[in-house]
């Protein structure tokens, strides 16, 4: 889809699916799932991997030629997140950072105050900041205002598989944003992903929906198709919803039966 580029932090991607690695049952399954998903960018928790070690998650990404998007999962304060982001930049040589500042362990919801604070600091420090945020249109706008390269609202809590609980907020965020809006967290199955794309999201980020599925590789392939289907539907423009039926085979389109020239 050359005419439908997905640009994030100055790089153009042909896949709009960003994958995560958390919860993968094995490196082998992870590798096959990533391949099946068609992803070109995958997020890795910097607190749980060591960039200097080969044979682990980062080696799989290197082998598959997939870009690494470091994230700050597990941070509870702006200070920790900023520190983790700087260590990630040093270790991986990338300015990209998926910024996560979590408010509490039970819900894993973002802490909006700390998030905005960290985003501002990191943007000033030259990072390309992709913040994991609440589905709050006001906060999304503020994150964009401080210079984030995208906003990544949650559909529902991380790992919950509850889909997009407030599609209306997503619509509000997408309508206002001048940066890409990426669904982050909550996707449970393919229809959740298709809905996000139909609502105008530029991409989808997911991990658990694939890694914790009974057949992760199959689900990864399903998600790839869902992103593509949802994007195509969004670009095509859906029909208005009607209360009553509208015949799809009007009379002017019917074949005329000529008794002189039988059709078959």
């Amino acid at each position: 889809m050359a005419d439908d580029a997905f640009v994030l932090g100055g790089t153009t991607y042909s896949s709009r699916l960003i994958m995560g690695t958390g919860g993968a049952p094995s490196l082998d399954v992870l590798e096959r799932s990533l391949t099946a998903s068609g992803t070109e960018l995958t997020t890795v928790a910097m607190r749980r991997v060591n960039a200097g070690v080969h044979g682990s998650v980062l080696s799989v990404l290197e082998k598959l030629g997939i870009g690494v998007l470091p994230n700050t999962a597990g941070c509870f304060t702006a200070g920790e997140a900023v520190l983790t982001a700087r260590l990630a930049r040093e270790a991986l040589g990338t300015d990209l950072i998926k910024l996560e500042v979590i408010a509490d362990e039970r819900t894993l919801l973002p802490d909006p105050v700390e998030l905005l604070d960290a985003a501002e600091t990191l943007v000033d420090d030259g990072f390309t900041v992709l913040p994991y945020t609440n589905d709050d249109p006001v906060l999304a706008r503020k994150l964009e205002d401080v210079g984030c390269a995208a906003v990544m609202p949650l559909g529902s809590p991380i790992g919950s598989g509850l889909g997009i609980r407030n599609p209306h907020n997503f619509q509000l965020i997408v309508e206002h944003a001048r940066v890409p809006v990426i669904l982050d967290a909550g996707a449970g199955t393919a229809s959740d992903v298709a809905l996000a794309m139909e609502l105008g999201c530029a991409g989808v980020m997911l991990a658990s929906a694939v890694t914790r599925a009974q057949e992760p590789v199959l689900m990864a392939e399903g998600m790839r198709h869902a992103v593509e289907a949802g994007r195509l539907a969004y670009r095509a423009g859906r029909i208005p919803k009607r209360h009553f039926a509208a015949a799809s085979s009007p009379s002017e389109g019917q074949a005329r039966l000529d008794p002189e020239r039988p059709a078959f």
Partner: protein
């Protein structure tokens, strides 16, 4: 039993952890002359591991092939433990106490019900219990327990005692220990011929078994195409002590998934209570961290609130040898004379009996037994995850 000394050993085993030791012991029992190279035989991951023999409660989607090997090894355990106790004159702390896997909230409960369904589909024995039934079995469990799975077939052993007993059994069956590092594999005319030792010595051998745990991919001289794709996966483990006045505290292994992370409590007869374990991809790092200890205690406390009264006697981190598909690599490689026994990941202690039997058979006869054949290292040839550093 004494052996005629010869310049060439039948088999040299690199790595004296439980996998290397059981390989050496079983091979010596078949009449082979065997040497083990390790600066500290009986050390390694077994010094940290909890020793759950959990073929059933550790079942995961997509690991049905591994399940077959796990179940077979669990089946052999009682006899193996009895034979090793006899051969070494040591008690292994083998305990047929069973395991109780519980759920602490509705989400965990749904997860556990799914595991139960998978267990039944796989023909495994487990029984679903209500929260009250769980707490009747183990009164120290938190009141919030919503239900659980009782698996009487998942036993435990003390891995430290297991390692010590294997060292003694090896010594008694004539295995020669070289207490130094292996420096390099000798390859002559396309065949593994022995090991060069760090102290300068050389061991000539007809066959070399690489059983170096998480370090198995590190031995110099091993050609890239047969180097095992094994990586270290860090696990932090705590040891508490149950004072006599609280005994038995817990009477079986208790485990749960708490918000996605696994926690287990393994009570030993001698009063030790093992709490584990984190899973971290941090390379060779074996630091114990505040976060690791906190998370383990937090989750264990949620499961069994009374643990706060117990002395915390040890904190330690070890390295699991992880393979790309979480299953071990057993048997001959593409390099003649070089065999692997590594990559056991979470299941090293459980797979000790079946690994020893399989490796001894392939060393003595050249043929892997049928149950070990799916685990040939050749399944990774051409698809190694190792990248040049």
């Amino acid at each position: 039993m004494s052996r005629t000394p010869s310049t060439t050993t039948d088999a040299v085993v690199v790595g004296g952890g439980i996998i290397g030791l059981v390989t050496a012991w079983r091979a010596a029992q078949r009449g082979l002359s065997v040497a083990v190279v390790d600066p500290e035989p009986g050390g390694g991951a077994a010094q940290v591991a909890a020793g759950m023999l959990a073929a059933v409660t550790e079942l995961h989607y997509g690991e049905q092939t591994l399940l077959g090997l796990n179940v077979e090894s669990a089946r052999r355990y009682p006899e193996f433990a009895a034979e090793l106790s006899e051969a070494s004159g040591r008690d292994l702390g083998y305990r047929a106490c069973g395991t109780l896997a519980v759920a602490l909230d509705a989400d965990d409960r749904a997860h556990l019900r799914e595991l139960h369904a998978l267990q039944r589909k796989s023909g495994l024995e487990s029984e679903w219990l209500s929260g009250r039934e769980c707490r009747r079995l183990e009164p120290m469990l938190a009141p919030g327990v919503r239900g659980g799975l009782r698996v009487d077939g998942d036993h435990q052993i003390d891995p430290r005692r297991l390692a010590g007993a294997l060292v003694t059994a090896c010594e008694r069956s004539g295995v020669v220990f070289h207490r130094t590092w292996a420096e390099r594999l000798s390859v002559v005319r396309g065949r593994a011929r022995g090991i060069v030792l760090a102290d300068g010595g050389e061991l000539a051998a007809d066959q070399v078994v690489l059983a170096g745990g998480s370090r198995s991919g590190q031995l110099a001289g091993v050609p890239d195409e047969v180097l095992p794709p094994v990586r270290p996966v860090k696990g932090q483990v705590l040891r508490l002590t149950v004072p006599k006045r609280y005994a038995p505290f817990l009477s079986r292994t208790v485990r749960a998934v708490v918000r996605g992370s696994h926690v287990y409590l393994v009570p030993r007869v001698n009063g030790e209570l093992v709490v584990g374990a984190t899973t971290e991809e941090l390379g060779w790092d074996t630091e114990v961290t505040a976060g690791g200890v906190y998370e383990l205690l937090r989750d264990a406390h949620e499961l069994v609130p009374g643990i706060t009264e117990l002395p915390l006697t040890e904190t330690r981190a070890g390295l699991r040898p992880g393979s790309p598909d979480n299953a071990p690599l057993l048997g001959p490689t593409a390099l003649p004379g070089l065999l692997l026994a590594t990559g056991h990941y979470r299941n090293g202690v459980l797979l000790t009996p079946v690994t020893g039997d399989a490796m001894a058979q392939v060393l003595a006869t050249g043929e892997l037994p049928e149950e070990a054949r799916p685990f040939t290292p050749r399944r990774f040839s051409g698809a190694s995850l190792e990248q040049p550093a």
